[in-house]
C-alpha cells in the first residue's frame, strides 16, 4: 500500500510500504477515505533531524472498516469511522474522566508515536478499535466529510481550548493563531457563549473565516503592539480567556500580555519550549491560570457530531485544498508557505 513518510525536515515522500494488517484481536483494519495534514505536522517539517526519520505521518482520518480482530465488539466490516489522533481504550479510570489522551492502557498512544502506521496513507491498523473509533451515521461520500474529519483533531482541539478555559456566556476571549485550530477555537468560544472574541492573526483570508466563525474583532499586529490593541478593545483589562493555538514562545508572551487578572491561558498549540515565565511577574501576581494540553477529542465527538449533522456548525470550511496521496508533499509545502490553510487528502 502507499503511505506518507517524512525523512527529515522538508523531506516528505509518498512511498509503497508493507500493507497494514491486524496484529492484535482488539485491532481494526481501516481503508482510509479522508485524511489531512495538520498544523502540528509542520513542527517536524521544520525541525526533524535525519536521525529521527523516517517517520510515517498523519493522525486525522476517516475510513471504512475492512476487517476487525476477534475481540472487537462494536464495529464491523463496512462501518464508516473517524479516528481521534489518540488511541485509547475509553474505559480506564482516566478515559472515564474524559482524559483519553492519558489512557492507561499499554497500547494507548498518539498516532504520531506509532511506528509503521499513519493516517496519510491508504489504510491503517487501529489499535484498541472499540475504544478509539467512533461510527459515523453517513455514507463515505457525504458532503459533510470535511466537517466530520475535523472531529479527528482540530475541532476537538479548539473546543478543548475553550472548555479548559471554562468560558462562560458574556466573557471576552482572545484567540492567538489563525490556523485551523485557532479558527476552531473561535467557533468553540462562540458555542460556549463568549460575547467578545478577538482573533489575533495576520492572514486575511483566514481571519475573514474567523469572523464567519464568530470573531468580533481581528488584531493583525503582534508583540507589544498587538497586546496594546487587545487592551484597547477591552477597556485596558484584557480578556478572561486566552486560547493559545500556536505553541511558540512569542505566542505565550502574547497570551501573558492580553490575559485579564484572574483569567486563564488555555494552550492547545504544542509548546515548542519547555521553560517559560510563570512566577510573580507573569502568572502569579494576578492569579492567571494555565490550562490545556493534547485534546481528548474522543470525549467530544458525540457532543459535537449532532451540530455538524444538522449544519449548526461548518468546521470543514477550514479545508481550502484537496489532494490525492501523490499531492501530499506539495500539500506540506503549501501549508508551510501559508498558501493553504489545511489540506484534505482523499487517498
Amino acid at each position: 500500500m502507499r503511505a506518507t513518510v517524512m525523512y527529515q525536515a522538508g523531506d516528505v515522500r509518498v512511498e509503497t510500504v508493507p500493507d497494514s494488517t491486524l496484529r492484535h484481536p482488539t485491532d481494526a483494519l481501516v481503508r482510509i477515505t479522508a485524511a489531512c495534514i495538520c498544523g502540528s505536522d509542520l513542527h517536524p517539517y521544520h525541525s526533524m533531524s535525519a536521525a529521527d526519520g523516517p517517520a510515517r505521518m498523519g493522525h486525522e482520518l476517516i475510513g471504512v472498516v475492512e476487517e476487525v480482530g476477534a475481540d472487537v465488539a462494536t464495529l464491523r466490516k463496512g462501518d464508516l469511522v473517524v479516528s481521534p489522533f489518540a488511541i485509547s481504550d475509553n474505559v480506564c479510570v482516566l478515559c472515564r474522566e474524559n482524559l483519553q489522551t492519558s489512557c492507561l492502557h499499554h497500547e494507548a498512544a498518539f498516532w504520531d508515536g506509532i511506528p509503521d502506521e499513519g493516517g496519510q496513507a491508504e489504510a491503517v491498523r487501529v489499535p484498541l478499535a472499540d475504544g478509539t473509533l467512533v461510527k459515523l451515521p453517513v455514507a463515505a461520500d457525504s458532503a459533510l466529510m470535511p466537517s466530520l474529519l475535523t472531529l479527528a483533531d482540530v475541532l476537538g482541539t479548539g473546543y478543548h481550548a475553550a472548555r479548559m478555559a471554562e468560558i462562560r456566556p458574556g466573557q471576552a476571549v482572545t484567540v492567538i493563531g489563525d490556523g485551523a485550530v485557532g479558527l476552531m477555537a473561535v467557533l468553540s468560544a462562540k458555542r460556549l457563549g463568549a460575547e467578545q472574541i478577538i482573533l489575533m492573526g495576520r492572514h486575511q483570508d483566514r481571519t475573514d473565516l474567523g469572523r464567519d466563525f464568530g470573531a468580533t474583532a481581528v488584531v493583525a499586529e503582534r508583540g507589544e503592539e498587538g497586546i496594546a490593541r487587545v487592551r484597547d478593545l477591552t477597556g485596558g483589562l484584557g480578556t478572561h480567556a486566552v486560547l493559545e493555538a500556536v505553541g511558540h514562545m512569542p505566542a505565550y508572551h502574547q497570551a501573558l500580555g492580553v490575559v485579564r487578572p484572574g483569567g486563564v491561558i488555555s494552550r492547545v498549540g504544542v509548546p515548542q519550549y519547555e521553560e517559560a515565565p510563570i512566577g510573580f511577574g507573569s502568572l502569579f501576581r494576578h492569579n492567571i491560570r494555565l490550562a490545556g494540553g493534547p485534546a481528548p477529542v474522543r470525549a467530544s465527538i458525540e457532543e459535537l457530531l449532532p451540530d455538524i449533522l444538522d449544519g449548526t456548525i461548518e468546521p470543514g470550511r477550514v479545508f481550502d485544498a484537496v489532494t490525492d496521496l501523490d499531492g501530499v508533499p506539495a500539500g506540506y509545502r503549501d501549508m508551510d508557505e501559508r498558501r493553504s490553510l489545511k489540506v484534505l487528502i482523499r487517498p
Copy 2:
C-alpha cells in the same frame, strides 16, 4: 509609636517611628491588638539587601478603630476589625469578581508595598477602610483571637489554594509544605470534601497538627523519594490536586511529580523563581493545570468567619508562640530556625 523595621536580611528591629495618622478621607486609624509574623516575611529575612531597606513589616492584623476619615461610611471608633494583607476598595470590577488582590483603585496595594505602615506595630493607617476592613462581632480579648487573626492571611490563603484547585468531594489532594499556610490548605481541602489528603512535610509537631486538621497521610521524604511515596499512596496515579504552599523551585518540581493526569497544581507559596518547566514534558502532555496567586482573602472572610465563631474550625492552633513587640526580632529568628511555627504578636 513603636513598629517593626527590617534593615536587611537577618536584621529586624523594633523602633520608635512617627505616629500613623489619617491622610485621606477614606482612611481609618487602627490601634493594633493582635498581629503576627508570616512565613512569607522569611523570604526578605533571607534575601533582602541593605539597599532595599529599611522596610516596615507585618501584613496581618486585628485592631480597634481609633479614628475614621470623613468618607468612611461603615466603620466607627471602637469597632474591632481584621485587615486582609491586601488593601482594596471592594467595589471595582475585579473586586466584584472576588479578586481583591488585583483591585483597580490607585490606592490598592499589599501592606508589604506601603511605605511607613505595617502590621507589626502599635497602630496603622488603613487606606480604603470601607473596602479593606471587616468588622468582627467579638471583643478584643476574645479567646477566638488567634483563629480570627488567621482570616488576615494564612487561612484565606490555604482556602484559596484549595478553591483554585477546584477540589471536589472524594478527590485526592497533596499539600506541599507544613508551614501555617500548608496546614490551612489541609484544613481547607478537608472542608471542600477531599477524601485523601497527603501532607508533605518533615516537622513532626507540624504534621501532627496537620493530621488533626484532616491529613490522612504524611510524607516526610522529599524529591524523588517523596514523589515515589505519594505515587504509592495513590495507586501510581498521583493526586487530582496539589496545593503548593512553599514557593521554592524544589516544591514546584515535587508538585509536577505527584500531580495526576488532568490534575491541577495550585500555588500559594510566593514563587521565588520566574522561569519553570511548563512544556510538553511537564504540564502539557497530561493536561496538568496551574492555578493560584496572592489570595483575595477579603473574599472569603464572611464565608469562613462563622466556622470560626461556632468552633467548627480552629485555625488559630497554628500559633505556637506569643510575644509583645519587643519579642518580634526573636520571633523572626525562632520561625526561621523552625523553633516556632507561627508567632502571635500582642503589641
